[in-house]
Every structure is written in structure tokens, then in C-alpha cells.
């Protein structure tokens, strides 16, 4: 067990435990806060995978953007009297059975498949390479995503503003 392994298990446990709470807690606000820890854990895993830029983007976009958006969603769709906003659950038994089987199947696929491992050379920073790739090989996708974001922005605004007839 070296530091790398310890860190990995630490982050894996943070991620999975908080994800577990996200999907089981009945309180919506708690759920959102556990999601925060999940995102941080995943960001830690990215760092261990030598993807520093993705980790930063993960924190900025997911924590800074999407999570805030979700919190707004929670608050705008409930009559807020206290933080104790409950969310009901349905088909608990059948769902846990189903996802349990799914998890078993997926995990066994992951473990028993003979992956071709060929470690890539680790760069001290990936930002420069990623930036160059974004504006060369991936420039079309990059521009398209820009347009997509614009459309999403306009679409979201127009959908949310629509008045009830």
C-alpha cells in the first residue's frame, strides 16, 4: 500500500459513500449536499488518473454550475418552509433487486475482462495539450458545442419563461 493506493481508496470511498447517501436520503437538500462530496471525490479520482484539467473543470462546472442549478431547481419547485424537504420513493424493492443485479453484472464484466493495459506517458500538465487539441483536431466539435450551449441557453430561458395558459 503506497500513498497512491491509499488516496485512491480514500477517494473511492468518499465518492461511493456519498453517492449512496445521494440516492437514499429522503431529504432533498441533504441529497444535494452529498452530491457535492461525490463530485469532489470524482475530481480526486481524475487527479489520480493524471487528468488535472478535467478535475478542475469537474469542480468548476459540476460544483460551481450544475449543483447550484440543481439547488435552485429544488428551491423553485417546493414551497420552502424549512430545509426539511422530503422526497418520496417508489418501487424500492424491485428497484434495488434490479440495480443489484446490474451492479453485479457490470462489476464482474469490469473485473473479469482482460483489458489491454498500456500506460500512457504521464504529462506534468495536460492543459497545453488539451488546448492545442481543442483548436486543431477537435475544432469542429468545439465550435459545435459552443453553438449547442448557446441553443441550450436560449432554449432553457424560453422554456422556463413560458406562461401557463
Amino acid at each position: 500500500m503506497n500513498y497512491y493506493d491509499i488516496l485512491f481508496y480514500l477517494f473511492a470511498i468518499i465518492t461511493l459513500a456519498s453517492a449512496w447517501f445521494v440516492v437514499t436520503t429522503r431529504n432533498v437538500i441533504y441529497s444535494a449536499f452529498f452530491l457535492l462530496f461525490t463530485f469532489f471525490g470524482v475530481a480526486g479520482i481524475y487527479v489520480l488518473l493524471a487528468a488535472d484539467f478535467i478535475a478542475v473543470v469537474q469542480i468548476m462546472v459540476y460544483v460551481g454550475g450544475i449543483l447550484i442549478l440543481l439547488l435552485f431547481g429544488v428551491m423553485l419547485t417546493n414551497k420552502i418552509t424549512n430545509v426539511d424537504i422530503k422526497s418520496g420513493t417508489a418501487n424500492l424493492l424491485s428497484a434495488s433487486l434490479l440495480t443489484g443485479v446490474l451492479m453485479g453484472a457490470l462489476v464482474s464484466v469490469m473485473i473479469f475482462t482482460d483489458w489491454k493495459v498500456e500506460p500512457a506517458e504521464i504529462q506534468t500538465t495536460t492543459i497545453k495539450t488539451l488546448g492545442t487539441m481543442l483548436l486543431t483536431d477537435y475544432v469542429l466539435f468545439f465550435e459545435l458545442l459552443g453553438i449547442l450551449l448557446l441553443i441550450a441557453l436560449i432554449g432553457a430561458a424560453s422554456i422556463a419563461r413560458r406562461e401557463k395558459e
Binding site: T89, T99, M110, I159
Partner: protein, 103 residues
């Protein structure tokens, strides 16, 4: 225990994915369902980055992960707009009660 390698990351991602699906299937609140979807996307992203690190494809996997994050942001915005609209229409966001598609 084994030296931490590709398989470990993939297993974490598989478990995260299953938890996300569990969240999607069981929660009634539409916003909570969205949280489940975010978990699923994160699981997929871990896979991309892990393969990018261990399988000699270069940084293409990281690039894809980046694009997935962008798409997730767009998706969250649109989905929440729709949820707000549903809330206006039905004054609740419990998706098991919104089943007009059946009729």
C-alpha cells in the same frame, strides 16, 4: 490487495453507475432524478479518463470527458427549465404522478 490499476477505477465507475440508476428509478422528485443522471454521467466520465490514462489512446478520452461535462451542463439547464415548466403546470414535480402519456 492488488496494486491499484485500471480495473479498480472501472469497478468504482460501475458501482457509481448502478447507484445512479437506482436513484433514477426510485426517486419521485424530478430534481432527484436529475441528480441520478449526473451520477451516471460521472461514472461514464471516470471510464473515459481511466482508459485515456491506461490504454495508450492519447488524450482523446480526456477530451471526450470534457465534452461530456459540457453536454451535462447544457442538459441540466434544459432539464431544469422543463422541470420548472412542469411545476407550473401540475404544481408538483413528482414524476410518478405525471403520467398523462398513458392516456
Amino acid at each position: 490487495m492488488l496494486q491499484v490499476g485500471l480495473t479498480h477505477f472501472l469497478v468504482v465507475s460501475a458501482i457509481l453507475f448502478s447507484l445512479g440508476v437506482y436513484g433514477i428509478v426510485t426517486r419521485k422528485n424530478a430534481v432527484m432524478v436529475l441528480m441520478g443522471i449526473e451520477l451516471v454521467l460521472n461514472a461514464a466520465n471516470i471510464n473515459f479518463v481511466a482508459f485515456s490514462r491506461f490504454s495508450g489512446f492519447g488524450l482523446g478520452g480526456q477530451m471526450t470527458a470534457l465534452f461530456v461535462i459540457v453536454l451535462a451542463a447544457a442538459e441540466a439547464a434544459i432539464a431544469l427549465a422543463i422541470v420548472l415548466n412542469i411545476y407550473k403546470q401540475f404544481t408538483n414535480v413528482n414524476i410518478d404522478e405525471i403520467d398523462h402519456l398513458k392516456d
